[in-house]
């Protein structure tokens, strides 16, 4: 594995295409899991990237990433709705890194929308749960 940090790096992932012979497909992903978890665990959380097509609409759980960040030779759409857990051993070529804070914010926003991670106002006012009484 490279000395680069995994989080915010774009890798090609090798995945065996079951049911279609012994093919191995290579797909680009952006690793988004936090680095302490990436260092400790055998897996990372990754968001697949698709090539931007002409006229492609970008939905709230997606964002665009330019070739300068991804290292791919085409503009990409980040698919937060296709979040994956992948073994670190399946990460092959590191093609790029999303370092721009604006792009990182856009990625986080897409993930927050997909996973409904925005803090809800009711969370701030909710009564504390008595765990002992719940047992």
């Amino acid at each position: 594995m490279s000395a680069h940090q995994l989080q915010w790096s774009v890798f090609m992932v090798e995945a065996a295409a079951r049911g279609r012979g012994a093919d191995t497909s290579r797909s680009p992903v952006l690793v988004v899991s936090r680095e302490s978890a990436n260092n400790a665990l055998p897996v990372v959380t990754a968001l697949p990237l698709a090539g931007m097509k002409v006229g492609r609409r970008i939905y709230p759980n997606e964002t665009c990433l330019p070739p300068e960040s991804t290292g791919l030779d085409y503009p990409a759409v980040l698919l937060a709705h296709q979040i994956r857990t992948v073994p670190k051993s399946s990460l092959s070529t590191r093609t790029g890194s999303v370092d721009d804070p604006v792009l990182r914010a856009a990625v986080r926003a897409a993930v927050r929308i997909q996973l409904d991670l925005d803090a809800d106002i009711s969370d701030r006012f909710s009564m504390p749960v008595n765990l002992e009484s719940a047992v």
């Binding site: 992932v13 995945a15 065996a16 295409a17 079951r18 049911g19 279609r20 497909s25 797909s27 697949p48 698709a50 097509k53 006229g55 492609r56 609409r57 939905y59 709230p60 759980n61 759409v77 698919l79 709705h81 296709q82 994956r84 929308i113 803090a119 809800d120 106002i121 009711s122 006012f125």
Partner: protein, 89 residues
């Protein structure tokens, strides 16, 4: 980006509604009038946001380019089993 900086604002509300708000707060529905109003507005804003997202996602569900990206991704990662999974449901 969220901000917890509080701002004082002025709105006009019907008197009977204000009476019900006071009654609700006295009954323990919220720690203060401001908190009660904040909760109510936040809930309404969330509903508006959710409806906008739902419109976008319903559009995505019939967008052939979007669906092709899903299919391509799932074939790449899961081995082309997406159609079978759909038919099972």
């Amino acid at each position: 980006m969220s901000s917890r900086r509080l701002q004082r604002v002025t709105y006009s509300l019907p008197g009977d509604l204000l009476d019900r708000v006071r009654s609700a707060v006295k009954g323990g529905a919220a720690p203060s009038y401001s908190a009660f109003v904040e909760q109510a507005l936040a809930a309404r804003v969330r509903l508006v946001d959710e409806e906008q997202l739902a419109v976008a996602f319903r559009s995505a569900a019939t967008d052939p380019v979007f669906l092709a990206d899903i299919e391509h991704t799932m074939v790449g990662f899961d081995g082309g089993e997406t159609n079978a999974k759909h038919e099972d449901r």
